[in-house]
Amino acid sequence: MVSIDGRGDGKSLIRARGLGKTYRRGGEEIHVLQGLNLDVDAGDFVAFMGPSGSGKTTLLNLLGGLDVPSAGSVTVAGDEITRMSGAKLTAWRARHVGFVFQMYNLIPVLTAFQNVELPLLLTGLSKAERHRHVETALAVVGLTDRMRHYPRQLSGGQEQRVGIARAIVADPTFLLCDEPTGDLDRKSADEVLDLLDRLVRDHGKTALMVTHDPLAAARARTVLHLEKGVLVESVAAGNAR
């Protein structure tokens, strides 16, 4: 279940209450988010849409603990992350969030394997265990045979799948994807969306995705629109499955 009325049923995995974010540029204040509420249950696949500059990235950054809100709170699995200090928040991110970026953001000097391994370096896993986890993650995204390749030796779609493998390898509580198909052609985009779909359906992941692409949004169970600093239900709510 997903709700935006701020009432939720108390069981939600991710809960945002009265979330506000104000940027100051020059003497001017820009209120990007204003009292936004959101409840997302575990296992949901939510798409956020909205015009450019409407605050979609800002919202994901707040939910993922990359930024702190000007007002309101974010609670994930019972932890109020908006109260955590910098170092604690960093540790929390490592345990609970898998980020997928539009620009893939792989480290060019590391192989696909090493890129996927990065989050595991922060755990106490042994080398052999890390190896196993990385292979599993790469198998899920169908790139076992590209393990030793560097990002520049991969296509955009493959790079993004490595990015997804990196996001899931440490088995995070939820995935945050900011326009994951924004730079991809239709075919690659569909492959990536199929993958996210499978992760939610078959692997029970929770995923929140920002997208401009209606076809991408259609894959999600719920589509929400960001308008004037708050979330509204999709007009075409019939898309929700």
Binding site: T57, N61, G64, L66, D67, G86, A87, T90, A91, R93, A94, R95, F99, F101, M103, N105, I107, P108, V109, L110, Q114, L118, P119, L121, L122, K127, R166
Partner: protein
């Protein structure tokens, strides 16, 4: 250790840049090694000076002699355990450029006074048995490719005439920094052959029973000969050597200035290079943080990278300097020794790491302060 590949991959990202930076360190530390060797050569006398030896000179000037009769009077002073003496000869071997120090030494006492110079017993006996015998340092022997038994002609400058000596022995130093460029021959032969001012010596060297007693004994000795026609000026061997080094003061200042400028430049160049390297990687560093690496980790990563370059380049430079000095003194024997000591290597390496740290710290702080959201927004 599991992070090692992060450091290595980043350093290999721009191989030319890394090689050039490491190369700067290599050049600077090579220079450091050579300068340390030259500096050490100047200071060598101070370092190797025996703490239990005093030097007694003529008060008027170092080139004025002292009476031979002072030998017994010095020996009788309580606290003095041994007395020897020597004379500067200042002759020329073939050509003035072939300079090396020649001493007329007392065959009875000189060897025991300097235990750091080792002469095999049979060679010393041969020296005692030949009035024209000479003992040469092994560096000197090597320099002119002499052999035992060679007859060496030396033209007297202060003491005119053509002098010839037979090499009867070779001394080596116990420590690498001991000066083995000297040429010794017998004072008794010297005194017998010279035509004027017989029965005088250049200076005395005495051993004292207790080094802590040196200050008192210096006074006692000089008072003993005060108000006599030949007054003395006594000093510890260390102070004596140090007064020579002071005359080299300008050279040391020069060495220091050149060294400082080189290292300051190295600091700026490396700091700039690392700042550029970090700026290029802004996005990647932000991703590391997003994934869950702490600010402190990013800080350490950049510093370790810089210090790795410093260690590799610096180590290479010091290694080359060491190899260079092993090939021998480039002045062809003018320096009493030419040697990069383990201490110099250690301090050079420490200096390289310190420069690496100083150069890396600002870029590393910038990297650690980077805000993920801002860095990811920038394209």
């Amino acid at each position: 250790m599991k992070y090692l590949h992060l450091v290595v991959s980043n350093l290999l990202r721009k191989k030319t840049r890394t090689a050039l930076t490491a190369g700067s360190f290599a050049v600077a530390l090579f220079l450091f090694g050579i300068l340390a060797a030259v500096d050490g050569a100047f200071k060598q006398g101070v370092d190797v000076a025996g703490v239990d030896r005093l030097v007694v000179l003529n008060r008027v000037s170092i080139i004025q002699p002292l009476p031979l009769a002072y030998r017994d009077r010095l020996a009788r002073i309580p606290g003095v355990t041994k007395v020897t003496f020597a004379n500067w000869f200042g002759g020329v071997y073939q050509d003035e450029r072939n300079f090396f120090p020649q001493f007329a030494i007392d065959r009875e006492s000189y060897r025991e006074m300097y235990p750091e110079f080792v002469v095999p017993d049979d060679q010393w006996q041969a020296f005692l048995g030949d009035k024209e015998g000479a003992i040469v340092g092994e560096a000197l022997l090597e320099r002119f490719k002499w052999k035992l038994g060679d007859r060496i002609p030396i033209k007297g400058a202060i003491f005119p005439g053509s002098w010839e000596f037979n090499i009867r022995g070779v001394y080596r130093g116990r420590r690498p920094q001991d000066d083995t460029t000297q040429f010794w021959f017998r004072w008794d032969y010297f005194d017998e052959r010279k035509t004027f001012t017989k029965g005088v010596v250049g200076w005395y060297v005495i051993r004292i029973a207790n080094p802590d007693d040196a200050v008192r004994l210096v006074k006692v000795i000089d008072e003993q000969f005060a108000n006599s026609p030949t007054e003395t000026k006594t000093d510890t061997e260390k102070a004596f050597a140090a007064s020579f080094v002071k005359q080299m003061g300008n050279i040391q200042l020069l060495i220091m200035s050149v060294g400082s400028v080189v290292f300051f430049t190295l600091l700026l160049v490396t700091g700039n290079t690392m700042a550029i390297a970090v700026r290029e990687r802004t996005r990647e560093l932000a991703v590391l943080k997003a994934v869950g690496f702490r600010d402190g980790f990013v800080l350490a990563l950049v510093i370790v990278e810089t210090m790795t370059v410093a260690a590799v380049g610096g180590g290479l430079g010091l290694g080359l300097a060491k190899l260079f000095t092993l090939r021998g003194d480039p002045t062809g024997g003018l320096l009493p020794f030419f040697y990069v000591s383990p201490q110099s290597i250690a301090s050079g390496f420490g200096l390289a790491l310190a420069v690496g740290l100083a150069a890396g710290i600002l870029p590393a702080l910038a990297a650690s302060r980077l805000r993920v959201v801002d860095a990811l927004r920038r394209i």
